[in-house]
């Protein structure tokens, strides 16, 4: 997995096999399966490579179908669903061993003016505040996060510890995140790198009310879907607040909705449902 921005960019630099067909490389990893954020980010890059400027990705919706195999590259097959005047839509199938492992649809828009509003950023301690903790070693080991040096992650807290209880939302988590070294200025790379990081920590908000965490390994966790709506330009290599609420867990699944704030502005919204299954006593 990438250790810095340069390695992340190399991972996102896809090889063009043919029109609308791309190949993404793997990086050495001790994880048994490909990190979901990598597949999501490579898919977004593949879709974007088939779209001309000035169209910019404003949303993506996706489903994870099979665990990715880190020992072989991933092939991204892009289908053109719409070339409209204002909106362009692409669908990407990520495949390995002849089977789809992930399906993503991406919508692009030509910039235009309109109504403006945004929710205010919650009042939270900054990433350097003494109460804000880096990822613990236990969590790092569970997540193989020692290979995650591309991301700076600092936990403000969750409804399990560190955050004031909110009777309206039993499942909450707040995290500061950034890419650990500088990215190029082009907004495209910030959206792609953000997509990579956006798959991290999310399900923690759904685990928080149940006294379980990644570190203890007491639940089986796997992303089912992943959706991102980009609202405003931002830099993925500067701190952003990942403000997460899990409205519901039921039936072996947990849903998390998240708002992404930077410099007081709401720059993106994210939604993810995941399998959240109690591990059987053995």
């Amino acid at each position: 997995m990438p250790r810095d921005a340069a390695e992340l960019l190399a991972l996102l630099d896809l090889e063009k096999l043919d029109d609308d067909l791309f190949r993404g490389t793997q990086m050495p990893t001790s994880r048994p399966m490909v990190f979901g954020g990598q597949v999501a980010a490579q898919s977004l890059v593949a879709a974007s490579l088939t779209v001309d400027t000035p169209y910019v990705a404003h949303s993506l919706h996706s489903y994870f179908l099979q665990p990715g195999d880190p020992s072989v590259p991933t092939v991204y097959d892009v289908e053109n669903l719409r070339d409209g005047r204002s909106f362009v839509t692409r669908r990407v199938i990520a495949q390995q061993h002849g089977r789809p492992i992930y399906a993503q649809t991406v919508n692009f828009q030509k910039d235009e003016p309109g109504y403006e509003h945004e929710e205010p950023m919650p009042d939270v301690p900054g990433p350097d505040h003494e109460s804000v903790r880096p990822v613990s070693r236990r969590v790092q080991e569970e997540l193989h996060a020692d290979q995650w040096n591309v991301a700076d992650i600092r936990f403000i807290g969750s409804s399990a510890s560190g955050l004031e209880p909110d009777p309206r939302h039993p499942g909450r988590q707040q995290v500061w995140l950034r890419v650990s070294s500088a990215l190029p200025d082009d907004q495209f790379w910030h959206r792609a790198a953000f997509t990579y990081l956006s798959d991290m920590t999310l399900i923690g908000a759904a685990m928080a009310p149940h006294g379980i965490s990644f570190g203890r390994g007491d639940a089986f966790v796997a992303s089912l879907d992943h959706a991102v709506w980009f609202h405003r330009p931002f830099r993925a290599d500067q701190w952003w607040l990942y403000d997460q609420v899990s409205p519901s867990a039921s039936g072996g699944r947990g849903l998390t909705l998240a708002r992404v704030f930077q410099d007081g502005h709401l720059v993106a919204s994210v939604a993810q449902e995941a399998v959240l299954r109690p591990r059987k006593e053995s």
């Binding site: 003016p113 109504y115 945004e118 309206r168 609202h231 867990a249 039921s250 039936g251 699944r253 959240l276």
Partner: protein, 292 residues
């Protein structure tokens, strides 16, 4: 047939071939097909291709073109995954040989797990709400009468929005709330309840993106871009459910809205998300909004 029976009839697709279905059209005075109808018919097509012990738990979809009421819609289902616990289907809705809508659905074999949910907000009873179509008419919405006729199966009681009727909320700057139910009873088949709800879920959700803006919806070109639902727990669409809507952001002529659906006893049964085009209509520009 009463309007609810007409809706059930709309959801009863004709099977053309294995995974190929056709949905009929209602009578409508509107220019393009109501998005909730396409979403609900696509959902029914997907459901018909999985074993009945699997239940739909989520759908993600994009609207591509305005639908044409004068011809039926064909729904072509692709089997993406047949797993032990999960199944995935992708449905293409098409007319005139072109895709108008794509929906991906995930199904799960029911299992137990961790349980939590957001608390239901304190709101007035359905009887305290205003008829939504009346609210739209008074708000100067040119399509109110046509929509009222088309949505005849739905009983919608609007409780208020950020500018009228709701207490200000520091965290959510643009909100709307309403109670909804099907006017008459539905058959017990859970698929019908999920589909009838999906039909209703496209009503008004995008409107919450304008709650904070003092604009006449008729002066705004509005079109759903995407539509997402996560089904948490089973419920009856013909009993009252609260549609708690909020819009975190609008920019670039787009607005994003989320919705939480609670039954009257406070159970969170669905979460919804929709991004839509909300484009200020310039003076002199023509006609109702058109999806590209």
């Amino acid at each position: 047939m009463n309007p609810t029976e007409e809706l059930v009839d709309l959801l009863d697709l004709e099977r053309l071939d294995g995974d190929l279905f056709r949905g009929k059209q209602p009578e409508s005075a509107r220019a393009r097909v109501y998005g909730g109808q396409v979403a609900a018919q696509a959902l029914m097509a997907g459901i018909r291709t999985v074993p009945t012990d699997f239940a739909v738990h989520s759908l993600h979809s994009y609207f591509l073109l305005g639908g044409d009421y004068s011809v039926p819609i064909v729904y072509d289902v692709e089997r993406i995954r047949d797993g032990r616990s999960f199944m995935t289907r992708r449905v293409v809705a098409r007319q005139h040989g072109r895709p108008i809508y794509y929906q991906t659905l995930n199904f799960q074999l029911p299992e137990d797990g961790y349980e939590h949910q957001d608390a239901m907000p304190e709101v007035g009873a359905p009887e305290t709400g205003f008829d939504l179509v009346e609210v739209m008419r008074k708000g100067g919405n040119d399509e109110a009468d046509a929509l009222g006729k088309e949505w005849g199966a739905l009983d919608v009681r609007w409780l208020g929005n950020t500018r009228f009727g709701l207490e200000p909320d520091d965290g959510h700057v643009s909100q709307a709330r309403m109670w909804i139910r099907l006017r008459e009873g539905l058959p017990d088949d859970p698929a019908i309840h999920v589909a009838a709800f999906t039909y209703a879920s496209d009503v008004s959700l995008l409107g919450s993106t304008l709650s904070v803006h003092d604009v006449n919806p008729s002066k705004t070109q509005m079109a759903s871009l995407d539509h997402t639902l996560w089904f948490h727990r089973p419920f009856r669409a013909d009993d009252w459910w609260l549609y708690d809507q909020w819009s975190p952001s609008a920019q670039g002529a787009r607005g994003l809205a989320f919705g939480r659906i609670f039954t009257a006893d406070g159970t969170l049964v669905v979460t919804a998300a929709q991004e839509g085009l909300i484009r200020p209509r310039r003076a002199g520009s023509e006609g109702p909004g058109v999806k590209e």
